[in-house]
């Protein structure tokens, strides 16, 4: 009796917590509302199953609790019931997987015409690189990393001379334009994570990873590191400012190109 009641309360409490909890996802600021939708579908299906299972269990505990004279039913199997349950489960699983895979194919396909930027992680700060007027990012390699060239740009690559390097400062992005983010690390694993954008991806020394998104809301967003990277992991912060095209161009015009940095560094 009491046991069944507590189990029911666990379900009621969980549902109530879900409904009133002040902790919920941040208002989205990118095109990935599909991800949020898939989460919503998944919450409905799994929430229903959880409640059904635990309530059924509570019912059994109440209805079939031991009383003198009660005897359990002897029934080793029931093929029809078992196959039926298997099929229903498979349908439920497919209902979650299908939208998931559909959105994943969008997630991994960068739309043509996206601008490209680079984000570099190192213990324990963020740097950014935007292509200059030529629209192309120059080559890089860790062997070129110095205090003046923190991203290891290849000084001999002409494509890189005009690249804008932002070391340890905010990233600015124009609203409404798809961006492909190239991710690099020069020491250990890091992970560029802005909760409002939903997307994230590890950065790996020795390779380049990517993801893409379109900022859909202006504002200032916090950048966190989501992959353990040593003692400074939780203080590895930065900011992304999403702004209008005009503001963005004004900001960009004040940044200095790699070639200029290099000169001033000498």
């Amino acid at each position: 009796m009491v046991v069944a009641l507590i189990m029911v309360l666990v379900v009621v409490g969980s549902v109530a917590f879900h409904l009133v909890s002040p902790w919920w996802w941040t208002p989205i600021a990118s095109n990935w509302h599909y991800i949020d939708n898939t989460i919503t579908i998944t919450f409905w299906i799994t929430g229903f199953v959880f409640a059904a299972v635990v309530l059924f269990m509570a019912y059994c505990v109440y209805r079939f609790r031991h009383r003198p004279g009660l005897r359990a039913m002897y029934e080793p199997e029931n093929k029809r019931l078992e196959s039926w349950l298997t099929v229903v489960t498979a349908v439920g699983v497919a209902a979650m997987l299908a939208p998931g895979l559909f959105v994943w194919s969008q997630f991994v396909t960068v739309p043509p015409g996206s601008s490209e930027i680079e984000i570099v992680g190192q213990q324990w700060r963020w740097s950014y690189r935007l292509p200059g007027p030529d629209g192309r990012l120059g080559l890089s390699d860790v062997r070129y990393v110095t205090a003046d060239n923190p991203l290891g740009l290849n000084p001999d690559d002409p494509n890189g001379r005009d690249d804008v390097v932002i070391d340890n400062d905010d990233l600015h992005l124009p609203i409404g334009k798809p961006v492909k983010v190239r991710l690099r690390s020069i020491d250990v694993l890091h992970d560029f994570y802005v909760p409002e954008f939903r997307a994230k991806m590890d950065m790996i020394p020795g390779s380049v990873t990517y993801f893409w998104f379109t900022p859909t809301r202006t504002g200032t967003f916090e950048v966190l590191c989501a992959e353990m990277c040593g003692t400074g992991h939780s203080v590895m912060r930065s900011r992304v400012l999403v702004e209008t095209e005009v503001e963005h161009r004004a900001w960009l015009s004040q940044q200095r190109a790699f070639a200029e940095l290099e000169v001033s560094g000498r």
Partner: protein
Amino acid sequence: MSSAAPGVQEVIPASDVAEAELYHPHSWLTKYVFSQDAKIIGIQYTVTALAIGTVALVLSWLMRVQLGFPGVLSFIDPATYYQFITMHGMIMVVYLLTAVLLGGFGNYLIPLMLGARDMVFPYANMLSYWTYLLAVVVLVASFFAPGGPTGAGWTLYPPQAILSGTPGQDWGIILMLVSLMLFIIGFTMGGLNYVVTVLQARTRGMTLMRMPLTVWGIFTATVMALLAFPALFVGAVMMLFDRLLGTSFFMPALVELGQLREHGGGSPILWQHLFWFFGHPEVYIVALPAFGIVSDLISVHARRNIFGYRMMVWAIVAIGALSFVVWAHHMYVSGMHPYFGFFFATTTLIIAIPTAIKVYNWLLTLWRGDIHLTVPMLFALGFIVTFVNGGLTGLFLGNVVVDVPLSDTLFVVAHFHMVMGVAPILVIFGGIYHWYPKVTGRMLNEGMGRIHFWVTFLGAYAIFFPMHYLGLLGVPRRYHDLGEMAFVPPSTATLNAFISLVAFVVGFAQIVFLFNLFWSLRRGREAGSNPWNATTLEWQTPETPPGHGNWGKELPVVYRWAYDYSVPGAARDYVPQNEPMPAPTRAATGQAT
């Protein structure tokens, strides 16, 4: 003090199956310390694992102090915090859960449940325990090594694990890798034993499809572990080389705190594949024995046959096999080729189907049962709730694109604690309450057991259920201090403090349990040989606790499956496996082997 058979014979007389000659101890030392009796070895494993598990529990308190009340304990700086989470995670998963479920329950129950006298290789079995103990000692030594234990996270991801931005990069990581290798060597000796024993040493009539699900779970998990652990072993060897000899298995060209290192060409992702090729099956290595044990607990205490036994066996085997092709769901955002996502999301969600079948069958076993709400049954019910909860959140994380925002947040921490932390631990407790009477001859105290259950179950649920929502909000895992985060409301600090307080209470409830273990040893009610009226062979031994060799003169002969509860027409509500069938069928089954 005499061994199994009363009387003078050194060798227990053979029944008509081939008899293993057991080594008979001559001194206290060979009987209780360097014992070759699987039952003693099982107890040694369990006690050692619970002891090191207590260390992990204390570490979780310290972590929760820091998360709930940041800065209160000033010695918990980021480096210490990372050392704590690493040691906590690794101890819990490998040195506690794996060791208790396979080394503890496996050793104690496999021979007894199958009607064998012992494991087939008792000497290797003894070595298995002592190697495990050595692994634990090496692990503990890293707390005292210069620089302390490694703080690389339990996943030990390189390059970070062996570079100087991470605590314990000089001695800690080396000791950790060596300890893991020792653990694997020890496990392999025990594991081969369990497999061969199950395949070769079953008593007459004990066909595979008559084995209790506990044995099926442990057996399948052991086969998996024998296939999965080598990946970790290889990875550990390579990482040791990278660390000690300067090779570059996992190390690309990189800069270490401003200094270019002489590495090049290695792949950090290779480690992740090796680690998770072990790590995902590891989840099921822990889960499958728990599934098996909980099936038996439910069946015994609901006085009803397990529903859909054959389906349950196939589900265990299917889960075991499938779990070797899902490992990269831990790597959706690792930067591996994105097309892997399609494959691994599909396989991962397919596993949900056999898993769901198991849950249905547990429920259908309760349905129309005669449910005795004993302490083991309570733990089984608690397991169903937490396992279903954690299994369902796995459908979020397995579904590749949903994992993108949630990975590396507290959602993941909440998920795996629910499904592979709390759920198997509840089964372990349930199993201990269930089999303690066989091991010691006395019952554990029921009142303390109930307190232990309710505080642990409700407390653990209250700790980990709300935590999902912090992850959904975006709070990352492995953060020493949240600091200022604009998107995190101030109420989060309150929730974190609440979680910590509950964690302390749950921790203290474990002291009640440990106390009960000691107290009942002398004061517990006499159990008799079969206090739960169970059918399986371990309850039919001539002596309780069973002596060396388990069965006295004659091995039991098995006539039926393990779940003859409430058989219509039978006098009692259970029929032991070694009870012959009623007259007409008797001759037929009697000669079958």
